[in-house]
């Protein structure tokens, strides 16, 4: 039986470590100090909560404890920090500080720091997943399909640059937003994806990460209501999230879109997402997120899988391939090609895509091979897919598909 206190700590960590780190960064202006203090606070929680019980506001308890740990550390290393810094941190704790920008959210501020254009794109993603979403280095490595040591090094270098170059912790001014925004959107999207299909472990869906990404997307939409790509991203996340319940069957097994009970789809989220897609269409400034949202809107519109308008989906993928010609878009487009032009044509196209490290590449191939009556080739492709995901629900699903051949 799982230890209830350990479960509470785990839950608190998932829900509030990112927010705690962001608040500590605001208070102390030092990412490493913030991260270490929050880690220490969770270590204290693991020690004390079994005896004292879980406090009524675990997230707040973590922030307060982490702040005290950080102050202890500053006192011990007082040669590095002025007394003014300590006093300022003490004064600011608890109360809201004055903000020059339009948003009073510690995490949004930290997201813009993490996504500063002076940092390399890979570093921005790694930093945000670590500092905002609270992912561990191995999880980030799997999300990126790169070795753990590479991510660890990226994080160290990026944090060093933030400190040395003096990258500020603030939301950009209105005039700077158009340049800074695409980086932030990419990161929010990735956070959602990591939550939607956790890269490792037993749970197919880490709902907190999805909720976190949607929360951030909503904040961005509030902040920038005239940016169609912000609305497109929010719509995409909402329409995807709407299918969350239907996406897992008994025992947490994975259910494909075509086999989902559409009655379980969240109609409120769909209505909100469709409204946003329509608003984007009226603006007529298509971008990658709006097009992906539109593709999801077509799925959401179909009362049954058999009534999906695949031609429209393929047309949207054609448009998406033009403005975002990535291998993953090409792979997803092949799924629509299979429906419109048949699996043989789709397999030809899939085999031209170089995505060997990506499990969905092999899973897509496997499904096409199965439909083409090539069970031996399909089995080999499923095997390749299974070894490329650490998510147990996905592994089980792939294994099951393989066994059915």
């Amino acid at each position: 039986m799982p230890d209830p206190d350990a479960a509470a700590i785990e839950r608190t960590y998932r829900e509030s470590s990112g927010r705690a780190v962001a608040t500590l960064v605001r208070l102390f202006g030092d990412i490493d100090l913030a991260e270490e203090a929050v880690q220490e606070a969770f270590a204290v929680a693991a020690e004390r909560w079994p005896a004292t019980g879980v406090p009524p506001n675990p997230g707040g308890w973590i922030v307060t404890t982490a702040r005290n740990k950080a102050l202890d550390r500053l006192r011990r290393e007082s040669s590095r920090y002025s007394r003014e810094t300590q006093a300022a941190a003490l004064l600011e704790v608890g109360g809201e500080t004055e903000e020059a920008g339009p948003v009073r959210d510690d995490q949004l501020r930290l997201i813009f720091t993490c996504c500063h254009p002076s940092l390399a794109a890979e570093a921005q993603l790694a930093l945000t997943l670590r500092l905002i979403a609270g992912l561990q280095t191995p999880e980030i490595a799997r999300a990126f399909l790169v070795p753990e040591a590479t991510i660890a090094q990226r994080l160290v270098r990026a944090k060093r640059k933030i400190r040395a170059a003096g990258i500020p912790y603030r939301v950009p001014r209105d005039s700077e937003l158009p340049d800074r925004l695409p980086f932030v959107l990419a990161v929010v999207y990735l956070v959602f994806n990591e939550g939607y299909t956790a890269s490792a472990g037993d749970d197919l869906i880490r709902s907190e990460l999805c909720a976190e990404a949607i929360r951030l997307a909503r904040l961005l939409a509030e902040l920038m209501p005239d940016e169609p790509e912000v609305l497109g991203l929010l719509a995409l996340l909402l329409l995807t999230q709407a299918r969350q319940q239907a996406r897992t069957g008994s025992g947490g097994s994975l259910v494909l879109l075509a086999d989902q009970d559409r009655g379980q789809w969240d109609q409120d989220l769909i209505a909100e997402g469709l409204g946003l897609v329509r608003a984007c269409l009226r603006r007529n400034h298509p971008g990658p997120y709006q097009l992906q949202a539109a593709i999801n809107a077509v799925h959401s519109d179909a009362a049954a899988a058999s009534r999906t308008d695949w031609r429209q989906i393929l047309a949207l993928y054609d448009q998406l391939s033009t403005i975002a010609p990535t291998p993953v878009v090409a792979l997803n487009r092949c799924v629509a090609v299979a429906e419109v032009h048949g699996p043989a044509r789709a397999l030809e196209l899939v085999d031209q895509i170089g995505l060997d490290a990506y499990y969905l590449f092999h899973a897509t191939r496997a499904d096409l091979l199965r439909r083409l009556g090539r069970p031996d080739d399909a089995r080999a492709a499923y095997d390749a897919a299974v070894t490329r995901t650490a998510n147990r629900a996905e592994q089980a699903f792939l294994q099951q598909q393989r066994d059915r051949l």
């Binding site: 500063h116 003096g166 990258i167 500020p168 700077e176």
Partner: protein, 118 residues
């Protein structure tokens, strides 16, 4: 306040700017320098003669070896620089954007290491 180096890089072999362009750049840089001074962001600045005028000196094992420069055999060479004071990188990048527009070339921004007494 942090200090930043705003380095202007010149690409060797690119066609030289016309006299009119040079005059325009001198004037724009003068205006930019005046703005830096007026708000107290100025520390130091200077333009350099071409890399072909450089000399490299190495003091090694008690010997001094002097050779014709420049040190780095690359096409991009330092053409001039500003040293400025700015609150953070964003402020430095704003100055760099103005400096780049004034001199007509890309500007690299690098933070100085803090001196121990700061």
């Amino acid at each position: 306040m942090k200090q930043y180096l705003l380095a202007v890089h010149m690409v060797d072999g690119e066609p030289a700017p016309s006299e009119a362009q040079m005059q325009q750049a001198y004037q724009a840089v003068g205006v930019f320098n005046a703005e830096l001074r007026s708000v107290g962001a100025w520390v130091f600045a200077g333009g350099l003669h071409p890399p072909s005028t450089a000399t490299v000196v190495r003091a090694q094992g008690g010997r001094v070896v002097t050779t014709d420069g420049p040190f780095a055999e690359t096409k991009e060479q330092l053409g001039g620089f500003w040293v400025i004071k700015a609150a953070d990188l964003d402020a430095a990048l704003d100055w760099a954007a103005k400096g780049s527009a004034a001199c007509g070339g890309p500007v690299e921004v690098r933070p100085f290491q803090e001196s121990p007494e700061e």
